[in-house]
């Protein structure tokens, strides 16, 4: 039976929300996630019309006959270096998720799942202090409504700027408001630390091997939690009144290069860009080396409530923190 879910992406500006979303389908297609391969998930972007039709169980004749939509445009923008999401609206993207393989009986209705994923500018959910942003008032209201009506939230935080005091206050208030909101539908909240590949830039071609070790991710997450004490407030969501489950994970939209296995950041390009084949333009140029890393995790967990080797609960990270602190291999 078809199940419909709304997932809201929130987090500070430039945290990597839009990039995470842009890398979602590629990550699923390449199987570059921590779920068992036999789950065989597949995800397909839908136009809003197809989504509404599927929602009403009036399956349109042909999902494949579909012109370039908003999601394809987002992917193209990402391939060309990205566009900062504006604050003039919140932006909805639609997908159909299926699991074609063997799924543990615990989670599943057989699907498919219809996902509505809401992306918005960081300035909307996490407004900077003292800045006048007149165009934006009704957008704030719209996002607040979407946050109360959604089943899952994916909170994207850049691992590299965790102590950025400019947004901690606003994010803390957002969490508090979520916790006390009486009418929310929230069932799952995933905190994803983005830009994960940057931790491994000095490891060259061994980078990927380390990144693929869940124990490394767990170590990084424990440390991140200790640096970001304000995230402790999320525990309130897991009390019986809170009604939601919280998970932590890491991801990299840039990922690690195919074949060479090093972090996919080209030091020779202006700005911070992925490696690309010279002379080629657009998506094809970046596609040759591009293997995003774990960008499917937050969305699959949000949709299925199913853990991967790279999703961790408070309890798992607490246990890790209580154990001996091994010497860090990174940072």
């Amino acid at each position: 039976m078809t199940e419909k879910l709304t997932i809201c992406l929130v987090g500070p500006k430039a945290g990597g929300k839009s990039s995470l979303l842009a890398a979602l389908t590629e990550c699923v297609a390449q199987g570059s996630f921590g779920y068992a391969p036999r789950l065989r998930p597949a995800i397909q972007p839908l136009g809003e019309k197809d989504f509404r039709a599927a929602e009403a169980e009036m399956r349109p004749a042909d999902f494949l006959a579909h012109e370039e939509g908003d999601y394809e445009r987002l992917q193209r923008d990402f391939a060309q270096g990205g566009v900062a999401t504006d604050t003039l609206d919140t932006y909805e993207y639609y997908f159909r998720l299926t699991v074609n393989g063997e799924a543990p009986p615990a989670i599943l209705t057989p699907g498919p799942w219809l996902l509505e994923i809401v992306d918005s500018a960081g300035e909307v959910a996490v407004p900077p202090n003292g800045v006048e942003i007149a165009i934006l008032d009704d957008v704030k209201t719209k996002l607040a409504r979407q946050l109360l009506a959604c089943e899952a939230i994916v909170l994207v935080l850049p691992l590299v700027r965790l102590e950025d005091s400019l947004w901690i206050g606003a994010l803390t208030r957002l969490i508090d408001r979520l916790v006390i909101a009486p009418e929310k539908k929230l069932r799952r909240l995933v905190v994803v630390f983005s830009h994960y590949e940057r931790l491994f830039v000095r490891l060259g071609p061994s980078a990927f091997t380390y990144a693929c070790d869940p124990a490394v991710a767990r170590h990084v997450l424990s440390r991140a939690l200790r640096r970001a004490q304000w995230l402790e407030r999320l525990r309130a969501l897991e009390t019986p009144n809170g009604g939601a489950r919280v998970r932590f994970t890491v991801a990299s939209a840039y990922g690690f290069t195919k074949r060479f296995q090093n972090p996919n950041i080209d030091p020779h390009q202006p700005g911070e860009r992925r490696f690309r084949r010279a002379g080629l333009e657009g998506a094809r140029a970046a596609g040759e080396f591009w293997r995003p890393f774990l960008t499917a995790e937050p969305f699959l967990y949000a949709a299925l409530g199913m853990d991967s080797a790279f999703t961790f609960s408070f309890a798992q990270l607490d246990a890790r923190a209580a154990g001996n602190d091994e010497t860090s291999i990174i940072d």
Partner: protein, 268 residues
């Protein structure tokens, strides 16, 4: 501030318009042109007496009449300077906008791009009386340049409107110029055809018709100046340059990309 607009005619009369401003985008560093990490999207400049209820109508997406404004809205040859749109919105206001996407690490950078728009607001009645002047002033002075982080909010958000003086062009004179050239007859015929319907319509020009945007805007100015103030669809009139699709209403559009060899073979 004032600037003469060339309309060297003996029948010209002295006139003036007030222009109010709204800039949306990100503040930048004056020397590098890069967006400092703490700045995000905001209204970076606003005239102190701009009607707050009007502001929501001045978002780039609304002005181009689409759900959202993204880089695809801008033709390739206009990517650097941005697209231009003039049209009448709510509250008897006419907006003239230039909008584009620029790299966050400076004009020639390679980083993520952000939206930057500059909107001028003139009274609808001024637009209807002095369209040639409005377009000529915009052609020369309306740029989607970001504001500087070093300038205080108190200054940026409390600007006084600027007054522009010019020699106005009268209707007969405009009409005489217009009827000399094929483009003029086309434009006039287009507006006459549109008068008796309420459908959206667009008349396109490209680089074979006009060498550059400024020439096109001068031509569009002549055409609009030659419409009488009783023209029934004045509120629907729009002018666009470098926009990948027609602006809403009765639109004169300059799309230089269409004359590029690539575009021609694509169409084939």
């Amino acid at each position: 501030m004032s600037s003469p607009v060339s309309a060297n005619t003996s029948t010209a009369v002295e006139a003036a318009i007030d222009i109010r401003r709204l800039h949306y985008g990100k503040l930048v560093d004056a020397t590098t042109g890069a967006v400092p990490s703490q700045s995000g999207y905001e209204v970076t400049r606003r005239s102190f007496d701009l009607d707050p209820s009007l502001v929501g109508h001045l978002s780039p997406a609304r002005l181009i009449g689409r759900r959202r404004f993204d880089p695809d809205a801008i033709e390739t040859s206009a990517l650097r300077s941005g697209c231009f749109v003039a049209r009448t919105t709510a509250y008897d206001a006419t907006a003239l906008m230039r909008a584009r996407f620029r790299p966050e690490d400076g004009e020639n950078g390679g980083a993520r791009r952000h939206q930057q728009s500059s909107v001028w607001v003139v009274a609808f009645d001024d637009w209807r009386r002095f369209p040639a002047a409005c377009l000529a002033i915009a052609a020369g002075h309306l740029r989607a340049d970001p504001d500087l982080a070093a300038e205080t909010a108190a200054v940026r958000l409390a600007e006084t409107p600027s007054r522009w003086r010019f020699q106005n062009l009268d209707v007969d004179r405009a009409r005489a110029v217009l009827l000399r050239d094929a483009w003029g007859c086309d434009m006039l015929e287009f507006f006459l055809d549109a008068a008796s319907s309420d459908a959206a319509a667009c008349l396109d020009f490209d680089a074979r018709d006009f060498a550059n945007e400024r020439d096109f805007l001068a031509a569009a100015g002549f055409a609009l100046q030659s419409l009488s103030s009783s023209y029934p669809r004045w509120r629907d009139v729009s002018v666009a340059c470098g926009l990948a699709y027609p602006a809403p209403g009765v639109c004169l559009r300059y799309s230089p990309d269409h004359a590029l060899p690539g575009a021609l073979s694509d169409a084939a």
